[in-house]
Amino acid sequence: MTLGTLFLLSLAKAFTVVVALSLNIAGLLTWVDRRQGAILQDRVGPERAVVWIPKRIAQGAVAGPAVLVAGGALALFFFSDAEGVTRTTRAVLFSHLAVFVTWFTALVIAGRIKMRGVKNSFDRFIASVGDPRRIFYVGLIIHAAIFLSLGVLKGTPAGETLRDFLYGAGPFVFAFSVLFGAGYAAQRFRHERAGFRLIGLLHPAADGLKTIFKEDFIPPGGDGFLHKLAPFVSFFPVLVLLGVVPFGDTLCFGSDEQGKIMLSKLLATVPRDGICPTSTLDAGSAVHAVRLQVLDFNVGILYFFAMAGTGVVGAALAGWASNNKYSLLGGLRAASQMISYEVTLGLTLVGALMIYGTIRVDEMVRWQAENTWGIFVQPLAFFLFFAAAIAETKRIPFDIPEGESEIVAGYFTEYSGMKFAMFFFSEYVAVVTLAALTTAVFLGGWHLPFLERDGLHIAFGDKEIYAQPLSHGAVILFGVLAFVGKTVALCILQLFIRWTLPRFRYDQLMKLGWRKILPASLVNVLATGLVILAIQSGGPAVQSLMAGAAQVTQWVIAIGGIVLMVWFVRFLLKPAEHRRVLASSSAQYAASMGGTRTARMGA
């Protein structure tokens, strides 16, 4: 691989990680945080952060991408003929995508109709379904039917016919549903201008931009250089930490005679064993592996400890350089807290390192993919690590360094503008980073149960009961999506912990760290060692028992995940009674007069 390609690839990976993970998720977290806010401006802000767009442009912005996506799907069908595994993969993907888009569009439309009332015959047809959850159930049944019939009929002529039918029908239904949904959305713009709100996500963006233009204040007695340096020192480590976290399985490209990577030649399939074997290619050409990880480090997790430890310096520097007693107290608290929990953070991972036998994060994920997720072999370590990680991010219930009720705002009391925002960013990005790392070490990273490198293999014991070969690109894509999904789930969990728990007292924090979590992590190391010893000296019977248990965990994850998702969607779609609450006296007055010009309220 030439230096240029290497550079470009690294840049692309770094960009993907930073934009897709930190900034997007951090923006989303801010939004969810705002949604919980009780202050009027927090609730109104996202509503008011709006860009007004002329009607025609808004319609184009909705319909344009839909036309492109639908056209792309049809073009893929008409102009590139797929054979073998790629054909099956496309048939499976497009049929499921088509069913998904169809029921989702129908659900959204049903929701709109319920909101604004029935107006025409189409509305009447949709409304006749009744409970919108029925649409979801029907979609679910079709998903399951496609899944099962493809599996049962595999290899028979009927299965071939079904696959070919899905291969042809999938793109058309998908294109129709996308276009229909976009058209329905586009004709909804009735006023001359449309508000572009992005569900209120513009507000965090505007907040971030605003801080750039705010006054940059350095306290008169403070140390100007250290005061400027501190935000960078605390922001840098959390951002570069994402570098060692693998966000997907290794991509395999073909390479030419000189061993240079050929980005246009993504392998169609790779076999199950080995990372990127050469056997699948034509004779004479080689395979090039691209790890989906910014830094291909062999020290992996040690780099994480090194960088996480640097975060203390930023907070301590900020506290010292501000020439303010509250800042100094906050800086001291931050330093002592982070150093205390650093020890636990390291020791909880020792058990995991003993089991995985590697310190490379991608090797850890691979071990989990072959055996079972880390949370099943190290359940105690998972909880301890997660608690220590929250303490490391200095967020509630461990936000003693910035306890507003005691020391104003702690170590960033004297910070304003973008420098203040950088402390906040680093806190939010640390949430994302630690969620990503926890995912990689304990929740199987990119791994999904039964999804091997060559496709779906559902096995029970030694017997394979369902096999669905999938192309290499699709498998990697599912992996990346799984990783992002798990990370988002952990981020949301951290936010809920923040909203639920009160702040610890300082001595409680130290007692929890040194007298409870630390001894527990030491016991965990001891117990892990004993169990490993017992299994290694147990002979083949114990080994096969462990393999069986590992498979049981896969079943638990798969079934539990599906049940949880269906239950959650069912909960989200539960109909509720629409009641209009008139809070302000002016609104009550307007209602008593039969509404206003723009909002008619029935007399």
Partner: protein
């Protein structure tokens, strides 16, 4: 005094408040955290989905929604009261110079001490030399100003006014709130005029009512 009450602490009457049960589930903390998390999540997801699906109104948003009492501020503005005290302006004379004679009444009257004036004499030969001064610098720190209007009351020449109808804008830094003479003179009153309704009767004008050096002969 003899009472029937026994010695010792007084007996508390009333129903006792039930204390939280300190069982194992409470003391280990983890199950209680899980319960709390479940409650927060249930409320959050229920509220958010009802808001997103339009199944429930948000009274906070609704009380300011369109047509009720919402003013989309930068585009729509509410009229200010006639006597609203906005950012200061320095009124002009007919020749465009400030009416201010640098008497320092306003800076003396200012309770916030936000007005700074450097008075200067007119050059030799000017008819106003020795008679009145002019402000070489006239600075108002709008960040210190409390908008009490005492400067306007104190001014004997109608030279400073707060009738611009502009409220103090939020700037990015403290320096931008230091309004110098040129800026203060560039503001217009709400009628668009930079002059004052009271005409000035300069020495030498036929309308000039007072005693001049020529008349006085000193």
């Amino acid at each position: 005094m003899l009472t029937n009450q026994p010695l010792g602490p007084k007996k508390v009457v009333g129903t006792p408040i039930p204390r939280p049960d300190r069982n194992a589930s409470v003391q280990t903390y983890i199950p209680e955290i899980a319960k709390g998390l479940a409650m927060t999540m249930a409320h959050f997801f229920k509220n958010t989905k009802e808001m997103a699906l339009g199944q429930r109104n948000d009274p906070t948003i609704e009380s300011i929604s369109d047509g009720i009492n919402c003013v989309s501020y930068p585009e729509q503005r509410r009229p200010y009261a006639e006597r609203f005290r906005g950012v200061h302006r320095l009124t002009h004379r007919a020749d465009g110079s400030p009416r201010c004679v640098a008497c320092l009444c306003c800076s003396t009257a200012c309770p916030a001490q936000c007005i700074h004036i450097e008075p200067a004499e007119y050059p030799v030969g000017d008819s106003r030399r020795g008679y009145e001064r002019f402000p070489a610098r006239f600075v108002i720190d709008e960040l210190r100003c409390v908008f009490c209007g005492f400067c306007v009351e104190a001014c004997p020449c109608d030279a400073i006014r707060m009738d611009t109808g502009i409220h103090a804008a939020p700037y990015d830094s403290r320096e931008q709130f230091i309004f110098e003479k040129d800026l203060l003179m560039s503001f217009k009153g709400r009628d668009g005029s930079q002059l004052s309704e009271n005409p000035r009767h300069e020495p030498g004008d036929p309308t000039y009512p007072g005693v001049t050096r020529e008349h006085g002969g000193h």
